[in-house]
């Protein structure tokens, strides 16, 4: 396809674990209490350098949602999912926002995340049941 176009960010950056492509800023974190199969996940208001997969309906802990998986443009690995539509009113705030799995990204201090660090089932809003 040719050379990949990436957007560079400034500030406290979360990037892809494999290829270090910038994905989001810590300023744009909406919630840190999401969960997926690999552990914690953060809800971001704005994410860059991702391509969106096909939308599908998925049943999550908080109800039925229409989501699409998002992939890093640099290496193509799946980094999380994006909420397209939420059926329940209380979940509407998630629409248009993206969740990045903590296991798949490097934190602002380049830290990795190991699922064994935290106990599962503590707080949390959503589970990825793919």
């Amino acid at each position: 396809m040719g050379r990949v176009f990436v957007v560079t960010l400034e500030g406290k950056i979360y990037s892809c674990k494999h290829c270090r492509t910038h994905l989001a800023l810590s300023d744009h974190i909406v919630s840190k209490s999401f969960h997926c199969r690999h552990g914690r996940a953060y809800l971001f208001g704005k994410v860059v350098n991702v391509t969106v997969g096909e939308t599908e309906e998925r049943m999550m802990m908080t109800g039925m949602h229409v989501v699409a998986d998002i992939f890093c443009v640099g290496c193509g690995s799946i980094v999380g999912w994006k909420y397209e539509t939420a059926h329940e009113k209380s979940q509407k705030y998630k629409e248009g926002k993206s969740v990045l799995e903590r296991f798949k990204i490097l934190g602002p201090d380049e830290s990795n995340y190991w699922a064994s660090h935290e106990a599962h089932g503590v707080g949390g809003s959503d589970a990825d049941d793919v």
Binding site: V7, T51, V73
Partner: protein
């Protein structure tokens, strides 16, 4: 003291007519010491050193101070970590002939009073870089509008506190602006501002509206109608833009070289065909002007990454119409990252390489 002797020796070696005295410089008197070297020579030397040294040099003696304050036209204070504001406050009143000033900050330090001082003292300012000045407010823009009407290049990217009213005012005053960077100025860059720019700043050549989410078709259309000399426009992340904007640009900005539409997901094939067809329409006019062969190239840079509604025939038409758009490695200028259905789009270079390869007879024959 040894250092002093070394310097004196250097000085004596420099003086071609050897030894002190000898008033060969018409009328200026003898050159006996460092402080006596002609101003032009001093400025020439100063132009070779870094900015911190320039400021240090201006503090050596009154003669050098006056020479530098009179002759200095470019200054960058971006390296300052803490004291940029005070430095600007003290330097600006002295550097009245300043033309280029770079005040980009890693850590926000600049305040309105410094910019007001610059605007009051440096009326010849042409190039000002205020990127990442988070602490500046509209007062600065009003001050600049009054004090620096000759601005040609202005970079206020990242200044998130500016409002569009103040920028409208600046546009109506600084009508000679050619390069404007509003990347990340979410509040300041609105359709109202683009209308003002289209109306007032007709010499505009380069505009960066990256991540300015309020920008819409109405604004870009006014820009296209008002700034026929536009060469580079970046609409990265301007999600409200539709085909109408691109069509207006294709029809009115015949010198457009670089267009950025990253993540403008409302763009469809209609916009691509309008770009391709504008080329055909304008070819006749282009051939008339003998001015510059370079002018003939048309678009050199097009970024349509993540514009997932586009289809291969439309994008290929654009690639064919503009010979300067490349998908080949090394000269990459057509960005289609994230558009998985556009992998078949290629620039003419690939075809030519193919032809060259098949032109050689098979060695086995």
């Amino acid at each position: 003291m040894e250092r002093r002797e070394e310097l004196d020796l250097c000085f004596e070696k420099l003086m071609v007519f050897g030894g002190g005295g000898g008033a060969k410089m018409g009328g200026c008197g003898a050159i006996i010491e460092w402080k006596d070297i002609p101003m032009e020579l001093l400025l020439r030397i100063v132009s070779l050193v870094d900015d911190r040294t320039v400021i240090v040099v201006s503090g050596v003696c009154s003669g050098w101070r006056d020479a530098i304050c009179w002759g200095l036209t470019q200054l960058s204070l971006s390296r300052c970590k803490n004291s940029m504001n005070n430095l600007v406050l003290s330097l600006a009143p002295k550097l009245t002939n300043l033309q280029t000033l770079v005040l980009r900050q890693d850590k926000p330090q600049l305040l309105d009073n410094a910019i007001e001082t610059v605007a009051n003292c440096c009326h010849d300012l042409q190039d000002l870089d205020l990127s990442k000045s988070f602490k500046l407010s509209d007062q600065s823009l009003y001050a600049l509008a009054h004090g620096c009407p000759n601005l040609v290049k202005l970079n206020i990217s990242g200044c998130s506190a500016f409002s569009d009213t103040a920028l409208v005012y600046l546009a109506s005053s600084c009508r000679k602006i050619k390069y404007l960077n509003l990347c990340g100025c979410v509040k300041a860059a609105s359709d109202k501002v683009l209308k003002a720019i289209g109306y007032n700043c007709n010499q505009l050549q380069s505009l960066n509206l990256g991540w300015c989410e309020q920008v819409g078709d109405a604004g870009v259309k006014c820009l296209a109608y008002g700034c026929p000399d536009l060469r580079a426009l970046d609409l990265c992340g301007c999600v409200l833009i539709t085909d109408d904007s691109v069509i207006a640009l294709a029809n009115n900005c015949l010198h457009l070289r670089s267009l950025g539409l990253y993540y403008c997901q409302n763009i469809t094939d209609k916009a691509m065909y309008s770009l391709a067809h504008s080329r055909v329409k304008n070819k006749r006019e282009m051939l008339k002007s003998v001015k510059n062969r370079y002018e003939d190239e048309g678009l050199m840079n097009l970024n349509i990454s993540q514009c997932t509604a586009l289809t291969p025939p439309a994008v290929q038409a654009v690639c064919d119409s503009f010979p300067a758009l490349h998908t080949c490695p090394g000269r990459h200028s057509l960005m289609i990252s994230g558009c998985l259905n556009l992998t078949s789009v290629h620039c003419a270079c690939v075809v030519q390489a193919h032809r060259a390869a098949s032109a050689f007879p098979h060695p086995a024959h």
